[in-house]
Symmetry: C2
DNA sequence: CTAATTAGAGACTCTTTTGTCTTAAAATAA
DNA sequence: TTATTTTAAGACAAAAGAGTCTCTAATTAG
């Protein structure tokens, strides 16, 4: 799999937060229900993003989490790096240590090219891009749901 | 990680076999030493490829495994599909079931594009392509080795 | 102040992946 | 035939990933 489950959950969660006005905190409990992700597991993942500075949290009634920057400023790559780390974009496709031009494997050139296209996609796509597209086309962020349902309430 | 460890080992092993003349069997023990992969683990992986029909095996002295087709006819995608299955090329980037045009997620279009470039790379590269490149440029298939060393003996 | 609500932290379990080991079966060589 | 070499098969263990649960700390509402 390209991205870990944690990373995918993190993406869906931050994408959901990107649909919210900046000021308000969204409780993780609500997010976990909307996104159909285990509450405790999602909590752990969002804690990483909070520690990373991408989210800020607030305890108590009316508490929750929110993005620290507008969704247009957060690229998918930021979430991926915060959760899965840089391995996807730095490791040798054949698993050899020290991928790079000094000591390449036979697949290096082709993999470097492919990897660049993955990186470009993640770098050129912001949370807002996806949120807007999702809203405009009423796309899903869960197995059966749609965007309208996600935004309701 | 893009490919599982098993898959990467399978690629390195078949790539090594592609450097051999077609007729002869190479013992897995020797491959495991050349490639610095655990013998028993490599055996299990190559058994999958044998079951899949990509390799044939022969027991006893002078036994081993060999490719059933010339390396120029085996594409990387064949090895990947045999070991990791089609998930990489069919699954939703956000982990939702049933990736496809009928019910896409907001990332679908961009991911489909990126996925195509991964698939194209795997489909357009044969074991021989890599073996020839490796030999010409004396590249490595292990942490510290080089191709010349691989071919010796 | 007290009760309720929320995130934080960490122990714990379950599953999958990765890796090891032992025994059996096939083939050869002497 | 007997010993040796090799793959086949499968049990087993270790590590990593995924998911659950409990308790604590902060904050607010009443
Ligand atoms: S060294 Fe293998 S992909 Fe770079
Ligand atoms: S539905 Fe998500 S990538 Fe296709």
């Amino acid at each position: 799999m390209l991205l870990s489950k944690s990373c995918v959950y993190g993406l869906r969660a931050t994408l959901y937060l990107a649909t919210k006005p900046g000021g308000e905190f969204t409780p993780i409990k609500k997010m976990s229900e909307k996104l159909e992700i285990s509450f405790h597991f999602l909590t752990k993942i969002l804690q990483q993003l909070t520690a990373d500075g991408m989210l800020e949290s607030f305890k108590g009634p009316n508490g929750g989490v929110r993005l620290t920057k507008p969704g247009s400023k957060i690229k998918l790559i930021d979430v991926v790096l915060a959760i899965d780390g840089p391995k996807l974009l730095t490791e040798c496709a054949l698993g050899l240590p020290g991928c790079g031009l000094k000591n390449p494997c036979p697949l290096h050139d082709k993999w470097a090219e492919t990897r660049d296209s993955i990186r470009d996609m993640l770098q050129n796509t912001s949370l807002s891009d996806l949120a807007e597209k999702g809203e405009k086309e009423n796309l899903r962020l869960t197995e059966d749901g749609d965007f309208e349902e996600l935004l309701r309430n």
